[in-house]
């Protein structure tokens, strides 16, 4: 059963991803991407990583996609068809990507140690929280702190640039 669902999801992900990167309409692309992200959260749920699935849905599908949509709106790209790139580039990119993908998949398939099986466990939200705040071996408090600074820095960076936009506008007027 899960296998069937997985394959459905997999086809959704791949199909929608392909559509997302090939469609001529930018807004549609964002929508396809949204569906991809949602499908991916399905995979998380399927793996019984519910917290991950939730995060995926809320942060990605909820947060990041909104940013994208705003950006698309702000840059006035809804109706415009996207310029097509040259066939040469497509061919080259296709060859490289497919080749790399084939290579990677071959590597994955031939890897010996990958079929170990473990007893299934369910990760609870509490466990994750505990781990995130633990400074013992296996804990992740340091990354947690670091990413806070990172987010702060990214935020400041984004704000500064956003502010600059205003300044540019002022300057323009």
């Amino acid at each position: 059963m899960e296998r069937v669902i997985f394959y459905i999801l997999a086809f959704l992900i791949i199909g929608l991803a392909l559509m997302s990167i090939t469609t001529k309409k930018l807004y549609r692309a964002t929508m396809y991407l949204l569906f991809v992200l949602v499908s991916i959260s399905g995979i998380y749920f399927l793996m019984e990583y519910n917290f991950m699935g939730a995060v995926q849905l809320s942060v990605y599908a909820g947060g990041i996609m909104v940013l994208f949509i705003y950006a698309v709106l702000l840059t006035d790209q809804i109706g415009k068809p996207l310029r097509d790139t040259s066939w040469k580039r497509k061919l080259l990119a296709g060859i490289i990507s497919m080749g790399a993908a084939a290579l990677s998949i071959y590597a994955i398939v031939t890897f010996q140690g990958i079929n170990k099986t473990f007893e299934p466990t369910v990760t609870r939200v509490e466990d994750i929280g505990e781990k995130l705040l633990s400074y013992e071996p296996g804990g992740f408090v340091l990354p947690f702190e670091v990413i806070s600074i990172l987010l702060l820095a990214a935020m400041i960076g984004a704000i500064v640039i956003a502010k600059a936009k205003k300044l540019v506008n002022q300057e323009k007027n």
Binding site: T85, R89, L92, A93, I96, S97, G99, A100, L103
Partner: protein, 647 residues
């Protein structure tokens, strides 16, 4: 033999004089520098004669053999190896002492003569400095105790000759002549040097006494006999080395085919021509062969000496033919010099070694001695004439006998001497040469015989055309030279008359042992040579005493031969062709081109290629974001593939 310790003073005095005059050339004015130089030479003159006296009459002869005395001044001036070294030393033996006398006499006379000749010349002091330099070098050359030292002074003589020929350095022809003289002799010196290197390599010494010693010669001969040394064209390398050394002598002594510089060298002031290009430097080659005579004679049965004889004879004939046709009086004298040196070479070449067999050697030296006197005299007279007439060409002269009696009479004495008319000195030396040649090879004798006649002819052609021939009207009536110049002329004339009576063989011989030789007055050889000389004089008298049609007729009769002789057989042109057209244009120019455009071009090409590649690949940095990403991803893929491939 500490009594000869003062000998180093002989070259040293002119050297100091040169340095002093050289440094003060622009401070000290005219007569002073001349007097200084002359005074210095006077000292040398006295010392030389004192040495000659001391050597020949007091110390030299020990047990019936003249000693070779070596005075070592600096041992190991350069140490090449433990055995091979350049020592600075002086050798005193008959020929070097004789050369001392020759050099100091002629040089002293030229110094005195130049006081008048160079009067009011702007470079007066410089001239005397050069003269001192030359005298130093020449004295050093004759006194040198080893091959390398002789080479050193050889070069120094060359350079002083260069400086003196180019004395009038604002005259392009003088500059060209000096350059030519230096380069031609330098070319010969290259062979000389190679010869020295070879001799040094085989003989393990540069010292004359060692090289000429029986032990060295027999060692070398045994090597040759046992084929221990390489041979080339049938002659052993050691013989070749001697021939190479002889080539060096050929260069200095203007032997065919390296004679081309000598006529041009007449561009220098006439006293210089007298000193360098008649009496002293040009005989250096003869002296060199004489110095190494034991080697020349003994090594491989005297193979090298045969070359000397042939070259000498040919040069004598060749130059005499050219001398017949020249119009420039100094050139006539130059070719005459060449011819006479050929004679000397020939004499050495035909000589044996011991006792009377060594007549040729003695005669060559004798002729060197007498020739120095009369040829210097001839040049100095020519200088006086040129000084008076302001021209070098016979056509501008004539009838000078009444204007310049001293010049005329002294010239006549010298001309008689060179023609071989007894009792003038030239007769004795020349006759002995012919005698030696007769005993050696008849063809060579015949050549010498013919040349004697030619010599008499062209010398009297010269004499008559200058002093008689026609009554030329001169703008400024010429007159005899001033006292100082005339003194030299007279002194040398006296010498010319006197020296013939020295019995040379008592003093100089190849084996250092004196022997007795005398002229067989009645022998056909002697008579023949006097007759041929008289014939030459008579012919000249007929043709040139008065203006006649004969010269043109004779010239016409000889046609092409005359034209070739007049143009010196086009040897100069051949040289010009080889140097300019072949070496300069066909070798040097391509090399210069090759260097600029191929080698340098290659280096530049490296740079240009690098820049070119840089410009060609700039498209990689296209500025397109996705290109960059593409490179990135393909780079990753490529690396993966390479790793997999090589793993």
């Amino acid at each position: 033999m500490d009594t000869f310790d003062y000998i180093y003073l002989i070259p040293l005095i002119p050297l100091l004089m040169f340095l002093f005059l050289g440094f003060t050339a622009r401070k000290i004015k005219e007569p002073v520098s001349g007097y200084l130089g002359t005074a210095g030479l006077l000292a040398v003159f006295i010392l030389s004669y004192y040495t000659a006296y001391k050597y020949f009459f007091a110390d030299g002869l020990v047990d019936g053999k003249y000693q070779q005395i070596r005075v070592m001044l600096k041992e190991g001036w350069i140490h090449f190896t433990d055995k091979l070294a350049i020592d600075i030393g002086i050798i005193i033996d008959p020929i070097s002492v004789m050369m001392l006398v020759v050099v100091s006499t002629v040089s002293f006379m030229v110094h005195i003569y130049s006081l008048g000749y160079m009067h009011k010349d702007p470079g007066f002091s410089r001239f005397y400095a050069y003269l001192s330099l030359f005298t130093f070098s020449m004295l050093g050359l004759v006194l040198a105790s080893n091959l390398f030292m002789i080479y050193i002074f050889w070069e120094l003589v060359g350079v002083s000759s260069y400086l003196l020929i180019g004395y009038y350095f604002e005259k392009p022809s003088a500059v060209a002549a000096s350059k030519k003289a230096f380069i031609v002799t330098r070319f010969a010196d290259m062979f000389f040097l190679i010869g020295i290197l070879m001799i040094g390599y085989f003989g393990q010494s540069f010292d004359f006494m060692t090289l000429n010693s029986e032990s060295t010669i027999s060692m070398l001969n045994s090597w040759i006999a046992n084929h221990q040394v390489a041979s080339f064209l049938g002659l052993s390398v050691i013989t070749w080395a001697l021939i190479l050394i002889f080539i060096g002598g050929m260069g200095k002594s203007a032997m065919f085919p390296l004679h081309i510089w000598l006529p041009d060298a007449m561009e220098g002031p006439t006293p210089v021509s007298a000193l360098i290009h008649a009496a002293t430097m040009v005989v250096a080659g003869v002296y060199l062969v004489a110095r190494l005579f034991p080697m020349y004679y003994h090594i491989e049965g005297g193979a090298a000496l045969r070359v000397v004889a042939v070259v000498g004879a040919f040069s004598a004939l060749f130059a005499a033919i050219i001398a017949l046709t020249q119009e420039d009086i100094k050139r006539v004298l130059a070719f005459s010099t060449m011819s006479q040196i050929g004679y000397m070479m020939m004499a050495l070449g035909v000589s044996g070694f011991d006792g009377y067999e060594g007549l040729g050697y003695m005669a060559g030296m004798f002729h060197l001695f007498t020739h120095a006197m009369f040829k210097a005299l001839l040049f100095l007279v020519a200088g006086a004439v040129i000084h008076a007439v302001h021209s070098n060409f016979m056509k501008d002269m004539g009838g000078l006998h009444k204007y310049m009696p001293i010049a005329s009479w002294t010239f006549l004495i010298a001309a008689l001497a060179i023609s071989g008319i007894p009792p003038f000195s030239g007769f004795f030396s020349k006759d002995e040469i012919l005698m030696a040649a007769w005993e050696y090879n008849k063809i060579i004798w015949f050549v010498g015989f013919i040349v004697a006649g030619m010599t008499a002819f062209y010398m009297f052609r010269l004499y008559f055309r200058i002093f008689h021939h026609k009554d030329t009207q001169y703008e400024h009536p010429p007159h005899d030279a001033p006292a100082n110049m005339s003194f030299s002329l007279i002194f040398l004339a006296v010498m010319t008359m006197a020296v013939g009576f020295i019995s040379f063989s008592e003093y100089i011989s190849a084996s250092l042992k004196p022997f007795h030789s005398h002229i067989h007055w009645g022998s056909p050889l002697v008579i023949g040579s006097i007759v041929i000389a008289l014939v030459g004089i008579g012919a000249a008298y007929l043709m040139y005493y008065k203006e006649t049609e004969y010269p043109q007729k004779v010239a016409a009769a000889f046609g092409t031969t005359y034209k070739w002789a007049k143009n010196k057989f086009y040897v100069d042109e051949l040289y010009m062709y080889v140097t300019h057209k072949i070496i300069f244009d066909k070798v040097s120019k391509p090399i210069a081109w090759f260097d600029r455009y191929v080698i340098d071009g290659f280096m530049n090409l490296l740079g240009v290629t690098t820049l070119g590649i840089a410009n060609r690949i700039k498209f990689l940095q296209s500025g397109r974001l996705q290109d960059y990403a593409m490179y990135f991803v393909s780079g990753v893929v490529a690396i993966i593939i390479i790793v997999i491939y090589y793993k």
